[in-house]
């Protein structure tokens, strides 16, 4: 076997020989191929990610584990993380998405936490095939989440031709645990038993990590297709129950899920982070089909498996718990003192490697200060002419793929199981009631178009957007998770674009004083030399003060004042409307990050102390679409009477459709206007009175433009099959 057969370069091979002092055998080479792959080693992104802020008062454990953990209340930890399953979902959308959900749920379970929510962030092209992919992916997300009984409570969808051959399927999962049930992969001791739990191993997804997810798509990708992994949520559910029962009974010394690169990465990472070695007898691994080689057994990505580390005295009980659930549990080896991964097959040694070679010694790209500094630089971009305001524009934006109602997607997801969902996917964030432990707010966003021209602005904008969403309901952010999706890192432009995105996330998170507790990087989202827009999916978890009564997101009451709360910018760059009305995407506006924290705080405190009748963060499609969404919740008996101060028709367009950071739309009693204005202006926010809430199913602007509820809703609720307008 040759280095390139496992996705390694000649230089990497040299390094392996130097580390080992000999040539690796084929199995050993395969292990290096898997763990030194982009997907497992983060060789191109680790140095960038290390610049993200990780510390915060609520952080229990940050990046490095299977998921980040923050403390929600004295008695409750929250584990959460985003993962991508982009390439598999393109090859086989239903199973690709389903196994994506299963995979991230097992990451959460590996922290000892019980999953309570899933959120999915999806990006697709705009052609017919993309709509078929959307259909399959949504089916797959539901197939797994619904069946395993974890609600899909929020999510995000975006469309652009840039994702045509590289759709993005990022899934975020959240779990809860009592602090005393904390679990991880870093607590194994020498002399403990390794138990493989779950599905029998087949030839599924071999080389998924090293080849499929770590190179671009091209003609050859077809032949590299491994056996498609099939998700089994039924077994996934049983596996979850066995694992969590063992955790609750205190039977496990350490715990690791089997994800990308299967047993290879699970055993190596567990050993390395615990500072132990492992001796594994591959012939003991139960197989689904006869004749798998040690190589295949080590690299198989068969789903629904966990690796448990159990002390001798707890072994019997662990096996009994597994048997009670009729889940297969097999002793496959032991931890040792050696620091080595030592593999046997039918008694004969077949590989022997130090785990630190595999996990820590992968060659990684470094990032120097000048490069990092340069990433914040604004690119030179032009913004084209802004079209004059006209009433049809809002109908066009409402019916566009990026702004359209997502109901046809999320009604295929069970978002109510576990009976905590107070706000679900029909709102712009999820609010979960956790009883005595309080409430959890969860928001996910990250418009790709915002980073299309200026990755930095897009990354920062996405962070501010989710934090502004939490602020609108008075929730205190505990941490964020970032899903970075980008092109081929070997190309200067793609690498820089990813760097700028991460820098934007880092600066905004630091400015807002919110730690990044985990995340995921998916590179090589590039086909035939065309990279996707760097796309950062940001998820934020927050502590909600009164989850049983979150602030409404409708139009409040008839007679209420409707306000735009903003931060000064009216730049409509990278907005949905700019794309829809002009076909262009220019740079997303940058904002002064120094004031972000105080503005977010002012909003949070206002909402907590003096909740408005209704409040919603300004979303995709700008002020216009945010009003439409609020109106949709109030229904056709409500209406709006508005006027914009701008007489200039281009200014009107910008004001009505821009998506600049840190803006909200509020409904408050008219007589509170002065008080609210005073309060928020004191924190550097600006208030624009837009008009008032009326009765009667019409929205009237400046006395000249008007829209009926029925017309707007007909556009906004159009099904996805109707895409001809954007083909």
């Amino acid at each position: 076997m040759h280095a390139s057969d496992v996705g390694l370069t000649e230089a990497e091979y040299q390094r392996i020989e130097a580390l080992m002092g000999r040539a690796p055998n084929d199995l050993e080479l395969g292990l290096f191929g898997a763990l030194w792959s982009e997907h497992c080693s983060y060789k191109n992104s680790k140095a960038l990610l290390s610049r993200l802020p990780h510390e915060g008062p609520h952080v229990v454990s940050g990046p490095g584990g299977n998921a980040g953990v923050v403390r929600l209340s004295q008695d409750l930890d929250v584990a959460f993380k985003v993962e991508s399953h982009n390439h598999p979902s393109y090859v086989e959308p239903v199973q690709g998405a389903a196994t994506g959900v299963g995979g991230i749920l097992r990451d959460i379970i590996a922290m000892g936490a019980r999953p309570i929510a899933v959120a999915d962030a999806l990006r697709f092209g705009t052609d017919r095939h993309s709509m078929a992919l959307l259909h399959g992916v949504v089916k797959g997300v539901g197939l797994y989440g619904n069946a395993i009984g974890v609600p899909t409570v929020t999510g995000d969808i975006g469309f652009s031709d840039t994702y045509r051959a590289n759709p993005l399927v990022n899934v975020l999962a959240v779990g809860i645990r009592r602090p005393e049930h904390a679990m991880g992969a870093n607590t194994a001791k020498p002399g403990q038993v390794l138990v493989l739990l779950g599905q029998r191993t087949g030839r599924d997804g071999i080389h998924g990590a090293s080849l499929l997810a770590s190179r671009d798509f091209d003609e050859q990708s077809h032949e590299l297709r491994p056996t498609v992994q099939v998700g089994d949520p039924f077994l996934g559910k049983l596996l979850m129950e066995v694992t969590l029962k063992c955790v609750e009974e205190g039977l496990l010394a350490a715990l690791q899920d089997l994800g990308a690169a299967g047993l290879t990465s699970a055993s190596a990472e567990l050993s390395e982070s615990s500072g132990v070695g492992a001796e594994i007898h591959l012939d003991r691994v139960p197989l689904r089909e006869a004749g798998l080689t040690p190589y295949e057994i080590m690299l198989s990505e068969t789903q629904e498996r966990m690796l448990l580390v159990v002390s001798e005295e707890n072994l019997e009980r662990v096996l009994a718990v597994a048997q009670d659930f009729e889940v297969l549990a097999t002793e496959i080896g032991r931890t040792t003192e050696s620091g080595e991964l030592h593999l046997f097959y039918e008694g004969a040694e077949c590989a022997r490697l130090r785990t630190d070679w595999l996990v820590d010694q992968a060659p990684r790209r470094s990032v120097d200060e000048p490069f990092w500094e340069g990433l914040a630089q604004a690119p030179k971009t032009e913004s084209g002419e802004v079209p004059k305001f006209r009433s049809e524009a809002l109908l066009e934006v409402a019916g566009s793929l990026d702004a359209r109602s997502r109901a046809s997607v999320y009604r295929q997801y069970d978002y109510m199981i576990q009976t905590r969902t107070v706000y679900g996917p029909d709102r712009d964030l999820a609010v979960l009631d956790l009883g005595e432990d309080g409430g959890l707010a969860l928001a996910v966003d990250g418009p790709g178009r915002w980073a299309a021209e200026d990755g930095y602005a897009g990354g920062a904008g996405a962070v501010l957007r989710v934090l502004a969403t939490l602020a609108a309901t008075g929730a205190e952010p505990l941490g964020i998770t970032d899903g970075v999706n980008a092109g081929n890192p070997d190309k200067t432009d793609s690498y820089r674009a990813m760097g700028a995105l991460i820098r934007g996330v880092a600066d905004a998170a630091r400015a807002a004083e919110v730690p990044v507790t985990g995340g995921n990087v998916s590179l090589h989202n590039e086909t035939d030399g065309e990279s996707i827009w760097p796309t950062g999916v940001i998820g934020a978890a927050g502590r909600h003060p009164h989850p049983k009564s979150p602030v409404p997101q409708n139009l409040g009451k008839v007679g209420d004042a409707i306000l735009l709360i903003h931060s000064g910018s009216r730049d409509w760059g990278a907005s949905v409307a700019e794309r829809v009305l002009t076909g262009r995407v220019s740079a997303y506006p940058r904002t002064d990050l120094e004031n972000a924290k105080s503005r977010l705080k002012a909003m949070t405190e206002w909402v907590r102390e003096n909740p408005p009748h209704a409040l919603r963060v300004l979303g995709d499609g700008g002020l216009g679409m945010t009003l439409v969404r609020m109106w949709a919740e109030s229904g056709p008996s409500f209406g709006l009477q508005l006027s914009l101060p701008e007489k200039d028709l281009q200014e009107k367009t910008r004001l009505f459709f821009n998506e600049a950071p840190l803006q909200w739309v509020a409904a408050i009693p008219m007589d509170k206007l002065a008080e609210v204005t005073r309060r928020l202006e004191a924190s550097g926010l600006a208030i624009l009175l837009l008009g008032e809430v009326t009765e009667g199913g019409m929205m009237v602007l400046d006395g000249r433009y008007q829209w009926s509820y029925a017309d707007l809703m007909a556009r906004w609720r159009k099904p996805y099959e109707e895409v001809h307008d954007e083909l």
Binding site: V91, E92, Q95, Q199, G202, R203, D204, R225, T227, V228, Q229, V230, G231, D232, F234, L235, R288, E289, T302, E326
Partner: protein, 82 residues
């Protein structure tokens, strides 16, 4: 043109996991049957017009290739009924 009945049988490739088959096998065993494998595929009966049985088979084959079977995971075969 005469009408033909054709059956497209779609099965998972041998190496692909069949969770439904496994669960069904487990229950059959609990019910006391001794069974060593269950694989669940689709049996798709088509009614179509064609000049000859051969042509009907060809058309059904194209339907299978383009829609009825998922080539990433499944194999199929076509049979034209008398």
């Amino acid at each position: 043109m005469p009408a033909f009945h054709a059956v497209v049988t779609v099965e998972l490739k041998e190496s692909i996991l069949d969770p439904a088959g496994e669960a069904t096998q487990g229950v059959l065993k609990h019910m006391g049957f001794s069974v060593d494998g269950v694989r669940i595929g689709r049996h798709i009966r088509l009614t179509l017009e064609a000049e000859t049985a051969e042509e009907a088979g060809q058309v059904a084959g194209r339907m299978a290739e383009e829609l009825l079977a998922n080539p990433v995971m499944e194999t199929f075969r076509v049979e034209v009924l008398a």
